[in-house]
Symmetry: C2
Subunit: 400 residues, 2 copies
């Protein structure tokens, strides 16, 4: 597995671009990603009962055949809670891109992120699409990654390359996150492309598992926004042999996909609103995978833990408390906690650790908190950031 | 139902006091409440898997007979994650109070709140109990309410008086809360006393229901600290007829108890860490009581909603989003939302409301957000506060 430069156009046969169409004051706010040929497509979506129009339309389009030619994404406006007009607007976005590509509107997926409840200014979107389409290129991926940002402070791209049956294949992607990530995630979007050829239901299965290990470990199950979406397109342009079953080729593909989604997820956590530190919660010794993930997410979602990390305060009681209310079942008297390499809790009670050393560990930009439940061999990781004054500042006046 | 002054000693036959024993730098940190005669006792406790020593001991003592003479409470130290020494220390606290009262240690309940993982300095606690006991009095309730505070900015007391079968009876109590309340509650404690005589299992049932309607509506189920505890003592000293079944007397008692617990819960929400505004979430039109409570709590626990209230930003999308991921099932296209009297959402989409008027409503100290699910007749209320810079400041360095 080799990391390569680029993102959503790193794989062969994909083009992208981003433009400013007028949803934001001056920054890029509209992106399109296309595959030169029809691609197998799969998606995972928010579990929120309130679903934005683009979520509904993209699900509909994927259900029709599982192939797609393009994704069109706007930022700054979620097209959520916009009633029947919102549905028409999402369809019109797909239709406009389809017209340029000379394909059916159902082969275009739609995604939006931004403020809820404001109708899309469709004249700007339509003019933007017209301006954008002629500029699609392999070099356009970074502009696309920029155009999907909301309160993100940097674009998020990642790509890898590896050999499959003697052919070089690639997986790349872009994401936007921000919001506090936990516990009430602002919209998380990710768009992944690959030039592998793979059977549609396997693609869906691989994406679901990859999302569970990555994007779902920076959020809390169920606490998803109205617009969350992860989409993958596989267009077969590398001309490697098709992945048709769960054999070694599929496993290799999953490993590569997991690397891309995990790295994108970490970039999202690093760019949490107002974040000054990146935190990895590593839960070990869990009786099963579900317990490991539940405890890791619960700790990663605790405001009190996140504020303590900001304050560089080795308040391990908050870590135990969050593990305790997670819902997972374990013996609190067997739990150990490490800040970096420093053991601060053993058998459920504090060790006589060096407070200055602990504060030193917490003063770095990247912190690993390891929790060993002492109850098995399963492990999971979750990623988060600290809770800072700036988080409150950003969210007190997001619409303004 | 008449509100009267006082708190935990408003009912006949109760005394209380608070002293400084040296857990805090200078403020009161140790309280005792006693009943002059053995009282029926009941409690509701944290559901956290990690339970502090005083929780374990108080449960044990209540299980032995359901009567109690006293409660001893310290602040500034949770006696949680303190191993077997913590258990011995909690027992010693009960034992010391029992000696002064000449009763069995099992008739004394124990409660602690504060930092997790630090052994109790028992010499100070013991000296504090010796200093405290001779000063117990009806007038001592406000000192007791002060002594149980941690980051609370004011003591919380409430009491009512009413007639039961021709006799005047009273229910009063004190509480401490703070922490952000949501979503990772710092310790919430409440101690309630009444001079009614009531059968033990009815007392337990009434307390459970009252806690569900009040304290559990300022927190999120399961997200409870290691030390949360609500205890009630009923000593019969008003000499009114005993409540033996679920008849009109019981209903009257429940109404009075609900008023006391609800008012104490609201005081806790008003005093949330760093809070500048008090927010009531009123969910109406729910298909059942559980859905009403789930939606109300989900909105009240949303960092994004709380930050928007702080910023006086009428971002109703966040309210719908939090309702949507709550787990309750409803039709998002039937939901209405009101800020004060101003309808901002109808049938799931925004109305053309006056933004200036909305901002005006959000600028007041007390805000009611009403959400009508349009799906039934059940309703529930939850209470919270806004998310401010000061919340982060307080929690970044709680231990320091």
């Amino acid at each position: 597995m080799k990391r390569i430069s680029g993102g959503v156009t790193a794989a062969k046969g994909f083009k992208a671009y981003g433009v400013h169409c007028g949803l934001k004051k001056a920054k890029l706010d509209l992106a399109v990603v296309i595959s030169e040929v029809p691609a197998a497509a799969a998606g995972v979506f928010t579990t929120n009962l309130v679903q934005a129009a683009p979520i509904k339309i993209t699900k509909e389009h994927l259900a029709l055949g599982g192939t797609a030619r393009a994704v069109v994404i706007n930022s700054a406006n979620a097209n959520a809670c916009t009633g029947s007009q919102g549905i028409l607007d999402a369809k019109a976005m797909a239709g406009a891109v389809a017209e340029h590509l000379n394909c059916s509107p159902e082969e275009v997926l739609v995604s939006s992120t931004g403020v809820i409840g404001v109708p899309l200014p469709m004249d700007r979107i339509m003019a933007g699409i017209t301006k954008l389409m002629p500029n699609l290129s392999r070099e356009g991926s970074s502009r696309a990654a920029e155009a999907i940002m909301t309160t993100d402070t940097f674009p998020k791209e990642y790509a890898v390359e590896f050999e499959l049956g003697g052919k070089t294949v690639r997986i790349g992607g872009m994401a936007k996150g921000s919001g506090m990530i936990h516990p009430n995630m602002a919209t998380m979007l990710a768009f992944i492309t690959t030039d592998i050829r793979i059977e549609g239901s396997l693609l869906q299965q691989a994406l679901k598992e990859a999302a569970d290990r990555s994007f779902n470990m920076i959020s809390v199950d169920g606490d998803t926004s109205t617009n969350d979406m992860v989409v993958i397109l596989a267009n077969g342009q590398a001309e490697a042999r098709e992945i048709k079953d769960e054999g070694p080729d599929y496993e290799l593909f999953c490993r590569a996909l997991n690397e891309v989604t995990e790295e994108l997820a970490k970039l999202i956590a690093k760019d949490g609103e107002g974040a000054s530190k990146f935190v990895e919660i590593h839960v070990k010794g869990a009786p099963n995978q579900s317990a490991a993930r539940t405890v890791a997410r619960s700790i990663a979602s605790s405001n009190l833990v996140k504020a303590a990390v900001f304050g560089e305060d080795a308040n391990w009681g908050r870590i135990l408390c969050a593990a305790g209310y997670s819902g997972a079942v374990f013996d609190p008297d067997k739990i150990s906690v490490f800040l970096g390499q420093l053991k601060v809790v053993e058998n459920g009670t504090g060790t006589a650790f060096d407070e200055a050393k602990a504060a030193g560990i917490l003063s770095s930009d990247e912190i690993v908190i390891t929790v060993d439940l002492g109850a098995g061999d399963e492990e999971a990781k979750a990623w988060t950031c600290d809770l800072t004054y700036d988080y409150v500042k950003i969210n007190a006046s997001y619409r303004s």
